[in-house]
């Protein structure tokens, strides 16, 4: 097992080094596509880190993404870039901890609705503040960050997220979250401080999402609340993570990559019927891959290896 883990580590490192050269290709389209791929990979993986084991479906991705983007819009020109990122991360973590403490006692559909409402609430608060206090509708983002810089930052964040996810999965906290996902009542009676475990993971996941928003902000030169807090992001990330399989750390990336490419292709070829085709594809995915691509791989490898651990597809 250890040799296998080491092998995977070397492979991941090699992939990372190779991917770092993408901006050197000098093709602006590929770079833009690569940025989209990384953006959704990090968002979906961060989403899966919390929602995968706990099975709490969060639609708050946009809220944190937007907080990150707006932090840059407000502070980007005033403060040095690393400090801006740090403040964005701290803000995201702060909001996540408060939201987590007040809502993670909710379960099932109530949590979903709350997280969706949270995004709207934050967006409306920003609109209200901008209109009434700062008297602007949108903000220009003038920072000295190139597309290649954005790419490299996202790549570093991707590596950090996978490393973090791997460490958490091996930790007591990771095990606690799996027990919570299985049966929260049992978890409590096993001595797990379920509130702490859930808030901790929710905060970590939200901090990563906030950082993605902050890193992506310079890509737009102009930001307004409807761009930064576009709720489509929450839904896309959710669908990607589910397609890939949120019960594995490497699952969401298997959904993020093909779906980002698919969005790209469909929106270019069929600009008008794009969403209809997408809807049909989603229906097919959910119907045919209830445990995601990761679940399919597990099933295939279990059959091929003749392993008797016949996990029931839930």
């Amino acid at each position: 097992m250890n040799a296998r883990a080491a092998g995977l580590g070397v492979l991941a490192l090699a992939a990372l080094v190779l991917l770092a050269f993408v901006p050197r290709l000098g093709n602006a389209y590929y770079l833009a596509l690569a940025i989209s791929l990384l953006q959704y990979t990090v968002l979906a993986t961060a989403w899966g880190m919390f929602s995968g084991p706990t099975r709490y479906v969060s639609l708050a991705t946009t809220a944190f993404f937007g907080i990150g983007a707006y932090t840059v819009a407000v502070l980007g020109e005033i403060l040095p870039w690393p400090l801006v990122l740090l403040i964005a991360a701290a803000l995201g973590a702060f909001v996540a901890a408060i939201v987590g403490l007040s809502t993670l006692r909710l379960s099932g559909v109530y949590f979903v609705i709350f997280t969706f409402g949270l995004t709207e609430l934050i967006r409306q608060l920003v609109v209200w503040f901008e209109v009434n206090k700062s008297r602007v509708l949108g903000r220009y983002v003038f920072v000295d960050i190139t597309q290649a810089d954005i790419y490299w930052q996202l790549l570093a964040l991707t590596a950090a997220v996978f490393l973090l996810g791997w460490l958490i999965a091996r930790s007591r906290l990771g095990f606690a979250l799996r027990v919570i996902g299985e049966d929260e009542t049992v978890a409590k009676h096993c001595g797990i401080n379920t509130t702490f475990a859930k808030v901790a993971l929710f905060t970590i996941s939200a901090t990563v999402m906030t950082l993605v928003g902050a890193i992506m902000a310079p890509r737009w030169t102009y930001i307004e609340p409807s761009i930064a807090f576009n709720s489509m992001i929450s839904f896309q990330v959710l669908i990607m993570a589910l397609l890939g399989g949120a019960h594995r750390l490497w699952g969401p990336v298997l959904g993020a990559v093909p779906l980002t490419l698919l969005f790209e292709l469909l929106s270019a070829r069929f600009p008008n019927t794009f969403t209809i085709i997408l809807g049909c594809i989603f229906l097919l995915i959910v119907y045919m891959l209830p445990r995601g691509v990761a679940g399919l791989f597990e099933k295939l490898s279990a059959t091929a290896g003749g392993k008797a651990t016949g996990r029931v597809a839930a």
């Binding site: 007591r172 095990f175 606690a176 799996r178 027990v179 996902g181 299985e182 049966d183 009542t185 049992v186 978890a187 409590k188 009676h189 096993c190 001595g191 797990i192 401080n193 379920t194 651990t309 016949g310 996990r311 029931v312």
Partner: protein, 249 residues
């Protein structure tokens, strides 16, 4: 009826909990001494499971105290109570279906303080698997287990933390006669290890075989307490519990 010296493992006094107008547990009080098996009996709806939930922190009592080893735990969060040495099983067996047997038991001991070193934990898991009769099943998914094996696994998880007090909520319900004998022997062996047990049970043979003393509840109140044989022949108990028909189970 014999009460050993020292603090009782569990001491409940004046316990009360109402749901709207229904008082599910009303002024309940009893004590369980170290190493004792106490039966908590009563007809369906008499408040037994509510009482267990009040003791294990699922519900907060409206009034009263629950003392575990002398410390008042009433109203504490379940996870704190679990870490103080109270473990339980559930009326409808609850195992972690997505995990294998080894992980299920690990869940019972991984979050206790102080943390066991990994090697010791593995040894204890093996011992427990063996103890409940699941040796060799350690990598089997819990979802694949038979009903009695799920009960065994749930018990092993409860025992993993070496609890001072074990609450068994109808753990023997639904077993066939030979499984019942195995189950009774298993619980008896826990007593031999010095584990104190509160047993909510409807299977009268098991109650007679296992319980040193019994408390009987009806409509949320305690209506009898004493040595098992005395309690089961008590006229009020027979009337409340069996509707006036003599115990024959």
């Amino acid at each position: 009826m014999s009460r050993e010296n020292g603090t009782p493992v569990l001491e409940v006094a004046g316990l009360r909990r109402a749901f709207g107008g229904l008082v599910a547990v009303n002024d309940l009080g009893f004590a369980v001494a170290q190493g004792e098996i106490m039966g908590l009996l009563g007809p369906n709806g008499s408040g037994k499971t509510t009482a267990l939930n009040l003791m294990s922190g699922v519900l907060r009592p409206d009034a009263g105290t629950v003392r575990l080893m002398g410390r008042d735990i009433a109203g504490l969060a379940s996870y704190r109570i679990a870490r103080l040495g109270l473990a339980r099983t559930f009326q409808l067996v609850r195992v972690l279906d997505g995990m294998d047997c080894r992980e299920n038991i690990k869940a019972g001991l991984a979050f206790q303080k102080p943390h066991l070193p990994a090697t010791e934990a593995e040894v204890r898991i093996d011992t427990l698997l063996d103890r409940v009769g699941l040796a060799g099943h350690d990598r089997r998914p819990a979802a694949d287990l038979t009903y009695i094996d799920r009960k065994r696994l749930e018990l092993a998880r409860a025992l993993a933390a070496k609890p001072r007090l074990l609450l068994l909520d109808e753990w023997l319900a639904g077993l066939n006669p030979s499984e019942l004998m195995i189950g009774i022997d298993l619980i008896r062996s826990l007593k031999a290890d010095g584990i104190t047990i509160v047993l909510v049970e409807h299977v009268m043979n098991a109650v007679r075989a296992l319980c040193d003393r019994c408390v009987v509840m009806s409509s949320g109140r305690k209506i009898a307490e004493g040595a098992t044989a005395d309690v089961l022949s008590d006229a009020a108990v027979v009337k409340a519990y069996l509707g006036g028909v003599a115990a024959d189970a």
